[in-house]
């Protein structure tokens, strides 16, 4: 589904990401962990063509992403507040996103219904602008918008941070269900080793831009990761 080859990103002489080759299969749930500055977000931004790679390239379904538009209809993503339109209400924001993807009113109603659990009745119909929502609720709006087009690939950067415990558990359940039912390819970065091992079938550890671990998730994965990070 996604291939990266010889992918590097250099900022002012410092290499922040260096991935000789990585391949993410269709339907795989791919977890990315690493300390701050490990290059997780940089990797995601390169996939989404938001920064220019210093070398190498990213392919989605065999098509290059650089300066192209085709991949945009296949990928749903939420990295940070730049993916929100903060002067809209959540209702307007979903409506607008739905129009961009040509969703019918029926599609939208079904979609919003499927998000009810996550929203916990705090998002829709409140007449509040997104910029006035709490960080946690903003995050929920962004994640929902990424899921709205029913994408083949979902990319989320630290989706669990800022969410309350109930929402974290609901989100986890939702991601697992989507994975099982739709065979969605998921790329999720997280600082929370617990959550990421529960959602992802493959965990990649980045350190200073380099892949240091690439593990199939099993019962021992959490322990292995904990011992790796406990330095």
């Amino acid at each position: 589904m996604i291939q990266a080859t010889n992918l590097t990103k250099v900022y002012g002489g410092i290499t922040v990401l260096d991935i000789p080759h990585i391949s993410i299969a269709n339907g795989e749930s791919f977890g990315l962990v690493g300390n701050n500055g490990a290059g997780k977000t940089t990797f995601f931004r390169l996939i989404l063509d938001l920064i220019a790679a210093s070398s190498g390239e990213v392919l989605i379904e065999g098509e290059k992403v650089v300066r192209r538009d085709e991949w945009k209809s296949k990928v749903g993503s939420f990295l940070d507040e730049g993916f929100l339109i903060d002067f809209l209400t959540p209702d307007e924001y979903f409506n607008f996103t739905g129009k961009i993807y040509g969703r019918s009113e029926g599609d939208m109603a079904a979609f919003l219904k499927s998000m009810q659990g996550l929203f916990n009745d705090e998002i829709m119909g409140k007449g509040k602008l997104i910029r006035d929502l709490s960080k946690g609720n903003q995050k929920k709006v962004g994640i929902a918008a990424a899921l709205l087009p029913d994408p083949q690939v979902l990319i989320l950067d630290e989706p669990f941070t800022a969410l309350d415990p109930t929402s974290q558990i609901r989100l986890k359940r939702m991601l697992n269900e989507l994975q099982a039912a739709r065979n969605m390819t998921m790329l999720i970065s997280s600082h929370d080793l617990n959550h990421v091992t529960e959602v992802c079938s493959r965990i990649v550890v980045l350190d200073k831009g380099v892949v240091v671990r690439d593990i199939e998730t099993n019962e021992d994965t959490l322990k292995e990761l904990e011992s790796y990070f406990a330095v």
């Binding site: 938001l50 920064i51 300066r67 538009d69 730049g82 993916f83 002067f87």
Partner: protein, 492 residues
């Protein structure tokens, strides 16, 4: 059958996701259309007086007939450039026992039923009453109106024939321009007068009771040229090919579904303006500056070509000056959204182009009261709007890719200079200074009219090459995209 197909087309439009939801855009388009209808009616009524003032010794009806052939050619050129070819989704109908001929007929006649094509009647009918009736009598006025309808048919059909046969490319566009310019030059140097030919031709056609038949014959010829083209080229693949090519164009330039995403993005832009202090402030400033003309126009001292040009461009482009350079910056806070969701670069750039275009058209409409200051002002404003649409929109759009500072829209007023740099002032040079200098220098040699014509032609060329200019901006935007992304992420 024909009606069925038409009904399907209508339903497709009405049921497309873009139709009901783009209320804002529809209202805007409606208002602009009403404005032009009103304008055409007024011009239609008063044109005889204006013509009498310009050429007192010739009958206004004859003057108009003299220019009619040239006007028809210019409109044919415009239609060739901008009129979308009508298409039909052939696959949906192929398996039914419908005769090819019927489908082709539908394709050809459909545009003739589009009311927009009859906008010229809003001009022709009042003019028939006020200009044609005194010379040719009531019957002549009636025949003139019908001849206008037949000319519309001819132009619509012949333009689509040319478009289907030749395609829109640089060579054809240049041929058209050279032809039109050549005819103008021949007239000017008194070698061959299209005016005389046209006047004689239409005087004869309108004057004689059955002249209209000749025009109708020409329309029929245009119709059969299209039939001939389809007879030779109609097989499903080629049909699909035109349809496919059309669809790409439709994404951007046509109404309804063509306006789809662009309309949504435009209404987002409107919300952005109305929901931030800074942009709202700029909106008030724009309205305030519209009165700028009152400082110059009433006074004889300032009635110098250079001043007039400066003022005309300044007030007709004020919307662009206040908003244009920052159109991309404004999207800074949600730029990642725009870059990762299903919005093609082309759509994004065209949305911004349409935004600037609407600003120019609205500014122009709002400044029409200045026309009361005399004919001179009308001419200057018309030249200014052509230059604005043809050149300034593109200069601004291109220039906007250089404003890469994150703007904090939520705070501050219109006078907030945060994020304003020297680059924002460089744009003013092609925008205001070049036309002003051109006019100023030419007026020293009392050749102001030549300078005005040159500016108008430059503007027209810009309009003709809109597509190419937008492609240049698209490439530029893709080059600057990463820098913009990066800068917009940095908060001050």
């Amino acid at each position: 059958m024909f009606l069925q197909l038409l009904k399907h087309h209508w339903l497709k439009g009405v049921r497309s996701p873009g139709f009901h939801k783009n209320l804002l855009v529809n209202i805007f388009v409606g208002l602009v259309a009403l404005y032009f209808i009103a304008l055409f009616i007024v011009i239609g009524f008063f044109l005889p007086e204006i013509l009498e003032e310009i050429a007192p010794e010739i009958d206004p009806a004859h003057v108009f007939n003299g220019t009619l052939l040239f006007i028809a050619m210019v409109i044919l050129f415009a239609r060739f450039l901008f009129q979308p070819l009508s298409t039909i989704h052939i696959q949906s109908y192929q398996h039914f026992p419908i005769k090819r001929g019927k489908l082709i007929n539908y394709l050809l006649v459909k545009p003739l039923l589009n009311p927009i094509n009859y906008l010229s009647l809003c001009f022709a009918i009042p003019f028939a009453v006020s200009g044609m009736a005194p010379t040719f009598g009531a019957g002549g006025a009636f025949r003139f109106a019908w001849i206008t309808v037949f000319l519309v048919w001819f132009n619509t059909l012949f333009a689509s024939f040319l478009k289907r046969k030749l395609g829109v490319n640089i060579v054809v566009i240049l041929t058209f321009i050279v032809l039109l310019a050549g005819l103008g030059a021949l007239e000017y140097f008194k070698i061959f007068s299209l005016f005389t030919l046209s006047a004689q031709l239409f005087n004869l056609l309108i004057g004689s009771p059955f002249g209209w038949i000749a025009v109708l014959v020409f329309s029929s010829i245009a119709y059969f040229l299209n039939r001939w083209f389809f007879a030779r080229n109609y097989y499903p693949e080629s049909f699909e090919k035109t349809a496919k090519k059309e669809n790409i164009d439709k994404q951007s330039f046509s109404f309804m579904e063509r306006f789809g995403n662009i309309g949504d993005l435009l209404s987002l832009q409107m919300k952005l303006i109305l929901r931030h202090k800074r942009t709202k402030g700029a909106l008030y400033m724009t309205l305030f500056f519209l009165f700028y003309g009152l400082i110059f126009y009433p006074f004889e001292v300032y009635r110098k070509p250079g001043y007039l040009m400066f003022t005309a461009i300044f007030i007709t482009a004020i919307g662009m000056i206040m908003f244009g350079q920052w159109i991309i910056n404004w999207n800074g806070t949600h730029f990642d959204f725009l870059m990762t969701k299903k919005i093609s670069t082309r759509t994004y750039i065209r949305m911004n182009y349409f935004f600037l275009l609407s600003l120019s058209v609205v500014s122009f409409i709002l400044t029409t009261p200045y026309f009361f200051f005399g004919r001179e002002i009308v001419i200057y404003h018309l030249v200014a709007i052509l230059y604005n649409i043809g050149i300034n929109t593109h200069v601004y759009l291109f220039g906007a890719t250089y404003s890469a500072k994150r703007l904090e829209l939520a705070q501050g007023s219109a006078m907030n200079m945060q994020g304003v740099g020297y680059k924002n002032f460089i744009v003013i040079i092609p925008l205001l200074v070049v036309p002003m200098l051109l006019i100023g220098i030419f007026s020293l040699f009392s050749a102001t009219n030549i300078a005005l014509t040159v500016l108008a032609i430059i503007g027209l060329l810009g309009i003709v090459f809109t597509k190419q200019l937008l492609e240049v901006t698209e490439k530029q935007f893709l080059k600057r995209k990463y820098l913009l992304c990066e800068n917009f992420r940095m908060k001050e």
